[in-house]
């Protein structure tokens, strides 16, 4: 059972206070998008053995969505950050490179 720090209210939240929301940084494709792009948006998800970026909601707390960068194998948490961004902050990417050199994830790495 994980703990993640909610970047909005600062609480080190127990997993029972949180809801998982799947992969982070997915770009929305709406009307006018190609079938391929739309399919990618709706159905394609990463399933990495290692570094991952996820969406979580502090649902039994302040109610805010946030992002978590963590390792699906070691459960190490590289950091959490607000959801109002299209990619992880530089400091978190740098931290990941420090402990998991050569990591890649979708458009990152």
């Amino acid at each position: 059972m994980l703990t993640l720090q909610c970047p909005y209210c600062g609480v080190q939240a127990d997993e029972t206070e949180l809801s998982a929301g799947g992969e982070a940084h997915i770009e929305r494709h709406g009307p006018g998008s190609s079938d391929e792009a739309f399919q990618e948006y709706l159905f394609s998800r990463e399933n990495p053995f290692g570094v991952h970026f996820e969406r979580w909601r502090h649902s039994h707390g302040c109610g805010k969505w946030f992002h978590a960068a963590r390792n699906t194998v070691t459960l190490e948490v590289y950091g959490t950050y607000p959801a109002q961004t299209t990619e992880p902050p530089a400091d978190i990417r740098k931290r990941i490179s420090g402990v998991a050199p050569g990591w890649t994830w979708r458009f990152l790495g």
């Binding site: 059972m1 703990t3 929301g21 006018g32 998008s33 709706l42 070691t74 459960l75 190490e76 402990v99």
Partner: protein
Amino acid sequence: MSHRHSKSGRLTDGNKEISFTFNGKPLRGFEGDTLASALLANDQMLVGRSFKYHRPRGIVASGTEEPNALINMGEGARFEPNQRATTTELFDGLVARSQNHWPSLDFDVGGINASLSRLLPAGFYYKMFMYPRAFWKHVYEPFIRQSAGLGQAPKEGDADTYEHFHAFTDVLVIGGGVAGLVAARAAAETGARVLVLEQSAHWGGRGPVDGGRIDDRPVDNFVETLVSDLSARANVTLRKRCMGAGVYDHGYALGYERLSDHAPDSNGPRHRLWRIRAKQIITATGAIERPLAFAGNDVPGVMLASAMRDYLVNYGVAPGQRIIVATNNDDAYRTAIELKKAGLDVLRILDARETGGGALMNQARQLGIRIDCGRAIAKVSGGKRVRKVQICAQIGAGGALEEVGCDAVAMSGGWSPAVHLWSHCGGKLLWDDTHAHFRPDPERPPTGADGKGFVLPAGSANGILSLDGIVPDAIQTGRDAAKAAGFRLRKAPEFSVVQNSEAPLEPVWLMPQEARVGLRAKAWLDYQNDVKVSDVQLAAQEGYESVEHTKRYTTLGMATDQGKLSNINGLATLANALGAPIPAVGTTTFRPPYSPISMGAIAGEARGSVFQPLRRTPMHEWHRQHNAEWEPVGHWRRPYAYPRTGETTHDAVMREVSNTRQNVGLLDASTLGKILVKGPDAGKFLDMLYTNMMSTLKPGKCRYGLMCSENGFLIDDGVVARIDDDTFLCHTTTGGADRIHAHMEEWLQTEWWDWKVYTANLTEQYAQIAVVGPKARELLDKMGGMDLSADSLKFMEWQDGQIGDFTARVYRISFSGELSFEIAVPASQGLAFWSELMKAGQGLGVMPYGTEALHIMRAEKGFIMIGDETDGTVIPQDLGLNWAISKKKEDYLGKRAQQRDHMTDPTRWKLVGLETLDGSVLPDGAYAVAVGTNANGQRNTQGRVTSTYHSPTLSKGIAMGLVLHGPDRMDEVLEFPGTDGKTYQARIVDPVFYDKDGEKQNV
């Protein structure tokens, strides 16, 4: 025979006798006894039967590792199966029964399996029950079910209460033996918050029994001082009878506290589950002695050497008069010495090592005990108790050199650290050749959120088996844990330790080394599940190489003790059979809990009225008093109908529908979601959420809307009211309120975070009552207040005003097709308002109606219901709701998906009405069959029923369904085979059965 040797055991009070029963037989024990020690004191050597062969089983261990002494405890509402006698503290009036035998423990018919054991080898079930396939259902499955399980399931509800407790600590120490307490002391010294859990009722672990001196004092004396020192510290919490059950991600751990198992009449919860978050966890869980694998090692009276020492020292109980000790290490000599000192007959120590042991051997020899080196047990004979032992050379096949009569055997195959808790969350092990055991690999601990290790092993759990090594290791571990938890180290405590040094052990995985087949087939590895050396060897021979596969094939280690005694012996046997080194074979996965915990503890407070959070409307109590039958809708309880005396539920529903259509009915609609959406971009936002256009709605007006997911599927519907220029109130379905509010927040926070919109979930702020029926306006007029005439408040409008004494918001909307007002008042006035409406409607025939009447009336009108007509695969276009989908909008959630091939496929099933030819009610969910069969030989289908009712208004069955090309097939008759064997014929009709032009709601 086993007997009470001395009234003054270390833990028993010989002056306090208590009585208990075993299989109905009244017996006596002392305060401080465990059930196991008391049974042994009464010469009850036979305590149960094994799982597969129903072999006689005696007590083999003294703690939680016990595989045999599983009993049915208590009676009635306090009955519980599979309790270990060794960890059950004796209390006055305890009732215990043995299990897995029929008709009695002494004479058991199932024991015949034992004589068939050659026909029941490893993998027997897999081999036997494969063919013929037809036998499965009526022959094999009943047989397996009948023989599965050991204890009986309780028949009554549990009389006890349970609870959880969330604890946070810097350092959690699991195990209150010498290592745990010393580590706790070292950690506490730094100011860290320390929580120590000890599974038994006593501090000190094995230390006080195993001897040695710390700080120039006997170990029990040292432990006592240390415990009082720790108790006095404000930053330390000590809990006895609290087992560390599991270690999980990010420093989460479970503690299982048994509060009243030893005192069942006391007040309060029976068990408490500690849900612990620790920065660092020290596993000071000790080590478990291994049995030796020799023929007949399961005969009652054969016991672990350490257990025999425990019974003698702690409880004054001797398991026999004439005892033989078999060992491959020095520790068992301690048992021999204690037995001899107590005046018992130690006939022989059989030391498998050619050269024997060290200082302890000399001490034993000086006491006059005969020691035979390089010797082994070939076979123990006896049925329900040990009668004699055949002695042979360890190197050899078991040719007997000598036969000695005796009544108990102590065995020791060495010690394995209890690495379970270290391993639960991924801690790795390494093989230690010196001690022939696996111990924690300090380089590969379980890692936490920071990527660093958060579990530290201490003492014998760390593979250190001598007291003079354990104490300094525990000090270091305690300090390391505190430091890792962020505390500054101060001076370390120092303790001097004296203990006899020990000669190295010699691994013995089979006794004798080359035991012949007949002996190997009687050499038990897993006592509870009846797995023998020969079974594991057979598995290897049949090609099982992975230890995980072998475990499942042979059932080794799969019993309720999870192989605490058998695992290492089993995998060493496998390794030898495969000709591979032990570490290459590895261990099976250690999974929590360490030993079984009660279901009650897991449930905690969640029973009875707090099993789940039922949601109640402000009028809940009124409904209850008026005999409401409840329908669960999410966690809400809504009245389904209000049957009157002598009325069936169906009759009540029919009456409620008819009365509402003819007079006036009241519906508690408080559960409908009410979400306030406000801001300059609120209209733009709702245009994205709903399929239709909401931004054009005028203040004062209402509009029905549909919401879809990005997949295009319909997820919710409801009426939106525009409050003012930048404020909307969105009604959702009852089940949708929280979900849709979360859906809105998700899009606002994660996609359109620059849009100026705020939301608030006001669902529970209001009690909402639907006043429905031709006399609805008349009723409200009687209440007095605002003008609700057709001109003043038109259909699909809302207004704020006064009704009677109540400040209310009135929505003129209808889900029944009747003249209808939905009225919201503050929740705290809901009951009063409802009561006033009932009073005012007396002369008008007012009646409350429930959700089933609501459903029938909406079906009569052809209105869809989320969850009936939708199931997560249905799009609005399937339901003929194209009129509610804006063509003008460039985008809304689900629009792009609804353009996909599959969504525009003309063969998608579409909504129609269905009317049975004979007026009967179609079965819910029934499929309309088509010609031909599919690849599985099933009838092809062309539609299904989504809602079906008896309509009292039309006096016939009406239904809605999704049908292939449905709207183009009006008047066609379809066949719906029911599960009742009948086939129903129904005609495709328009889904609006009642008042198609909507005249009744618009008056």
